[in-house]
Symmetry: C2
Subunit: 341 residues, 2 copies
């Protein structure tokens, strides 16, 4: 086993790549939420001047990626690859959103865990010497996701309290070999998730479906690195929401790990459950991606947190698989982020 | 720029990873075609004993992956990652097809270029020292693709001659650091495609939509490596079909490159156009993946070909993007495969 490989599913980088810059672009509802002041751009027009929701989501990727590159101080020519993904069938938000940038591109799908997958692959590309700098990006849009997965918005469909609200937002980071004095954080390792299927079939309770995947990746990370929860200042999941949060904390407690004091969930952070009627919390690829870029990375940059396990979580269903009676398996891809001294 | 990086979009590996084994599993129609005797398994039941087309496609991935691992002589524990993809919304064929293997997994989407993307990322993971061995896998199924993209099969819809026939098939390779005396080939480099949009809007002529992407990646490969067509014994695209083939050869001829004598297309190879009524040829992620595993890699193993540019091509549309009037952009990811002396 190579010396970068830790345990079954983790990598510890010998020369940890830097997160050189980050940009977050979100919708009005996300701007009205508790993290509103942290995001780079709040788009008041949910169509972003485009003809339909899908093009609007593509525009989120274009704007976030361009802003992240601009903030990195690098030219477009210095970016080698684009690792991007979204929730839509055949990744159309990513294809049409990244097309104008003309980077060699890798389309990635991990449902709402996509940002973790994109950063993991991007960090490997950089540390392996295959790229000096890359962009990792993930987006979602409330309306394009509702259209993809649920009912026409015009139905005004009722949603159970276990359901989450898809975030209209996008996060993009530039990851580079550095060295850089301005870096937001370093990526010191990753733990790649495997698919966890609990034969859970309620698509309106994806937090529960994903909680076991988060558990699996967290415990794998602890085993692979020989650490426990005290190794991290924060352990932050993507979008488990209130239901998934409770389950994850209970599962971990049962396994002898009390992480509650250091645990956060991007989906819970981004909305005010009471005031914004978002039920269990936010979700979507853009939820963890925008909270990472707007809120988590700045905390790491300033040193308020020294080491964070960032762990976007995905529910691997489609309307076809769901309608055919399949379960909703989960996956969670973890990235270890550390403050740069 | 790191020493592994060649030009704008190519990588030349310092220690080229080995393709340790390959497996191809296809449907009856593919078994009846000109390459029928080359495939490992021909499934006479298009449902593969499952309840629906999507589960049947998942089963193709399961069978091909397991067979590739078996042929490699490695244990499941020695495989570190699974890089897989398919054409279905939210990659359900891959999620449900790879779930039982329980590998840390990266979901990949590049439409019919997916096998090139999976092998490129997999080779980087191996050569970068992040994994000793990985599986790269891509599948498609005629009936699940028709359901996803076109009309119910029961309509018996007519198809123009420029249309292709989605291959029911899957190809899986094990890529490892080796050394190995039994390897089928080495991956000496990759050229990662960018999205090429010609504002082409005919979804029944995807060969034409993808031809310019293939052109772009081939010319990029020549520029990055400082070579021309004579560097390769064969240049093999994924599924341009008869229409895309003619366009690509004409474009390249206009650019001063006559590749006709060394050019092949997996989509043209896999079916007998006249006898099988498949019109322009085969297509789908499983087309290039199964032809690679069944036909191309054995030619490299025996030394009939010393160096091949394998170039799966993808059309980045969805029914949503198409119905909203978007164009059909293309992408092509190239892998340089060489005979092991």
């Amino acid at each position: 086993m190579g010396k970068k490989q830790a345990g079954r599913a983790s990598v510890l980088f010998e020369e940890p790549p830097f997160v050189l810059s980050a940009a977050s672009v979100v919708g009005k509802k996300e701007g009205d939420g508790p993290l509103g002041t942290y995001f780079d751009k709040i788009e008041m027009d949910s169509m972003l001047g485009k003809k339909n929701w899908e093009e609007a989501e593509s525009e989120l990727q274009t704007r976030a990626s361009k802003l992240a590159i601009e903030k990195s101080g690098l030219s477009q020519e210095e970016i080698r690859y684009y690792f991007g993904g979204d929730l839509l069938g055949q990744l159309i938000a990513t294809s049409f959103g990244s097309m104008g940038l003309q980077f060699p591109m890798f389309g990635i799908y991990g449902a709402c865990s996509t940002m973790g997958e994109a950063m993991g692959l991007g960090a490997m590309a950089v540390e392996g010497g295959f790229a000096d700098n890359i962009v990792a990006c993930a987006s979602s849009h409330f309306a394009s996701a509702e259209k993809q997965f649920r009912f026409p918005l015009e139905y005004g469909n009722q949603r159970p309290y276990s359901a989450t609200w898809t975030v209209t937002g996008c996060g993009a980071v530039v990851i580079g070999a550095g060295p850089s004095e301005k870096a937001l954080a370093r990526i010191t390792g990753i733990t790649t998730g495997k698919i966890v299927d609990m034969d859970f079939k309620d698509s309106m309770n994806m937090g529960a479906a994903m909680a076991m995947a988060a558990l699996d990746t967290i415990l794998q990370n602890f085993r692979d690195l020989g650490v426990d929860e005290t190794y991290y200042d924060r352990i932050i999941t993507g979008d488990l929401g209130q239901v998934g949060r409770r389950l994850l904390l209970d599962y971990l407690s049962g396994a002898g790990h009390d992480i509650e004091s250091r645990y956060l969930d991007c989906g819970i952070l981004i909305f005010d459950e009471e005031a914004q009627d978002t039920h269990a919390g936010g979700s979507g690829c853009g939820c963890s991606a925008s909270v990472l870029c707007g809120y988590i990375l700045p905390k790491l940059e300033e040193g308020a947190w020294k080491r964070v396990l960032f762990l976007p979580t995905g529910a691997l269903l489609s309307t076809v698989s769901f309608n055919e009676g399949q379960s909703v398996p989960g996956i969670a891809h973890a990235v270890i982020l550390e403050h740069v001294e």
